[in-house]
Subunit: 148 residues, 2 copies
DNA sequence: GAAAAGTAGACAGTTTGCTTGTCTAAATAG
DNA sequence: CTATTTAGACAAGCAAACTGTCTACTTTTC
């Protein structure tokens, strides 16, 4: 029941994710976006989908509306996000990425791709494919919370 | 260069790690340890190694000595950790796990093993073995910081 | 062996990211 | 038209991190 390898797999997973986050963070900063945190990047993903509101961002990140509002305000002040009135609901605002926001999203994707590319190089195409498949199979879709 | 699958692999990795953290946290709480956070668990790993000081914990977790001191104080108050004088250095204290601390560590390992066991069940032995191997191959040893 | 420099950890204050609670204005259901 | 829900703002509070400063002890250097 208590397969000894399982704990090792767990720590490897956590360690790998932590290193990936660090690599993305570092790569994004190196590309000129030093004032964004990982959670901001995840918010970008949600916002770039188009037509997201503050409440949507909150639900996506698994935080309260208030926390999401604060996060969006920061991104607005820093020039990553704009708000325009919702055409159908005068209470709400629709969020959108500025050019800088889109550039930052691209930087994050590039940094992530670079890091993952190293995995591919280390594993070779076949084993990398297995990894890719296995991840897809065990992960459940859900919000990308900046947990722990 | 910009392999489209890479970003997906990255988000799957992050998502999987977040879900794993949640599962461990939930399993540990269900086993009777509701007052510990993930970072505490990582501190236990460091402390259970034996002969760790507060500064060691701080370095291991990638936080300042002050933050580590506060964390250790909480764990002491909650009965997970003890301090004894350092035999060679009157300034320092050596940390150790109490029985409760050891039990909590075991609970975390069990919860993690349970979560990973689900992966094994979903993948089958062969594909799980590939995952295990691939993780081992790409992860670099390092401190298990509660990053992001 | 004494003076200088470094280190372990405590104490105090500040920042930050999140929380709950309350409020408004607008939308929707009856 | 009234009652309920909802989007988001405002305020206060909490907790985990940070920096800065201090004391006591060790280690290094002369």
């Amino acid at each position: 029941m208590d397969a000894p390898g399982n704990w090792l797999v767990a720590t490897d997973t956590l360690l790998l994710a932590a290193q990936l986050v660090d690599a993305i963070q570092e790569g994004v900063a190196r590309r000129g976006f030093a004032d964004v945190r990982p959670a901001h990047g995840f918010a970008f993903v949600c916002i770039s989908g188009g037509d997201a509101t503050i409440a949507d961002v909150g639900e996506y990140l698994g935080i309260t509306k208030q926390a999401a509002a604060q996060l969006v305000r920061q991104l607005e002040e820093r020039g990553y996000v704009t708000r325009r009135p919702h055409p159908l609901d005068a209470r709400a605002s629709l969020l959108g990425l500025t050019a800088r926001g889109a550039a930052c999203t691209r930087a994050a994707e590039e940094a992530a791709a670079d890091a993952v590319e190293r995995w591919r190089a280390q594993l070779g195409a076949a084993r990398f494919g297995h990894l890719q498949q296995a991840l897809r199979a065990v992960v459940r879709p859900g919000p990308l919370r900046p947990a722990w």
